[in-house]
Symmetry: C2
Subunit: 287 residues, 2 copies
Amino acid sequence: MPPTNTFAGAAIDRVSDRRQDDAWIGEQLRSPTARAIVVSHEGPFVDCTSDPCRPAFVAAADIDDPVFLGRDADGPLFATAGDHVPGAYTAMSLRDAGARMSQADAGLLAYATAIVGWHGSHGFCARCGHATDLAAAGHERRCPSCGATHHPRTDPVVIMLVHDGDRVLLGRQARWPEGRYSTLAGFVEPGESLEEAVAREVGEESGIAVTDIRYRSSQPWPFPASLMVGFHARYANGEPSVHDGELEDVRWFSRQEVRDAANGQSMLHLPPPVAIARRLIDEWLED
Amino acid sequence: MPPTNTFAGAAIDRVSDRRQDDAWIGEQLRSPTARAIVVSHEGPFVDCTSDPCRPAFVAAADIDDPVFLGRDADGPLFATAGDHVPGAYTAMSLRDAGARMSQADAGLLAYATAIVGWHGSHGFCARCGHATDLAAAGHERRCPSCGATHHPRTDPVVIMLVHDGDRVLLGRQARWPEGRYSTLAGFVEPGESLEEAVAREVGEESGIAVTDIRYRSSQPWPFPASLMVGFHARYANGEPSVHDGELEDVRWFSRQEVRDAANGQSMLHLPPPVAIARRLIDEWLED
């Protein structure tokens, strides 16, 4: 099995075949065990009164525009947008939550954040411009004017560790903290396979041609709506140089330099464990 | 390298770093070698005066709302929507084009169809409802009212061959031609990895639990905007039965039954070679 990355692993049955069943969804919402996760503009509300933090679960009966996430071991679970909740809960960025929670809880918050965020930025019909309504228990939006049905958006992104056996190609963006380098990445475009996207993005960002493109694992990355699809790829030819303005530097690092950085003994700062980029690097170090 | 599936393989440099450069895009459009692919409601216009068919290339100077696809060996290439073109060209469904053209030409038409289709169904701002304008040479739409930038949508879909070593799990939808069975598939949802989507969809559609989920290859599938991500997965437990109403039947087929069907000697009809589903099946037969 591929590794389970942070933000995957929500322990929930989505019960997707009942989303259209308004009566059943209503029963779930009125259940005494129904809870909701509230997502603010700063991130989901969390409960840090014990360690590790957990999602803050509020009574589902009190929320507006409930999105049905599914059923977990404790009963029905909903999500909604909001900047206040009753009780001593605080909002936390999803990235921080991912680093401070169990795999399953971080996955749950990623799911809630992704779908609540979609509603917040897709209130109007892209086809005709009319205001749309929440439908299918929050898994669709429907247009009362033209009849279009809209589904949550998930944007596939390829992210790839390029290596030549001994060295790995990493780049950095100008806005990143000093010393931070990471693997290259970019959005999949219309009319290309994942492998074509890998080759194109590496070429665009570094001038390097790659071969032997191998899938490794994937990660939901709702910032706001990405799905990271991770690869290793082997260097074929070219000299690394900044090409398209996305990066301010791109260059080779030796296995020893990367190993030192992974051990915290370097000016080179690798991405944190929460990111699939780090996992792609760690797996290469282990190879 | 993974296999190249139909609709991948467009032989074009997308020159994505120049899309924002209006002056350079204008030069490309005015080039005497600039050509355009026109996509109608029935599919792209094609030239079948010789065999195999090729995309119908019209003069780019004549088109409205040009989308810059990139540069191929013959010069700049654009795409646009239209139901008429000069000359003896006909519109063909993209599926038919995929079965009757070279890999590179089918890839080019998939790219053109995907991005032209996106413009056709996303003329308004999902954030505020205002009409949006084509921008970045057709790779964005921008809202003059709220300032939002919108990018083409690509919907990741997992498609998976489930097997137990000797048998393969295939399902059929009621609307399919008699005897047609195929691999299970479904859209990736917010907050899940590709592997989670595979396990969830197989469970929802058949009641089967799977393990050993292995990526195989991917395929752009612009009907209208999917990216098919193909897996093999091994049966863990459960008895196949129709679960969620998407399928009218789901059941095991023996290796011999599938082999006979692949050879056209069966009442079982497998998906055509244009689909990654068939490739997943053929690769399993070869294992």
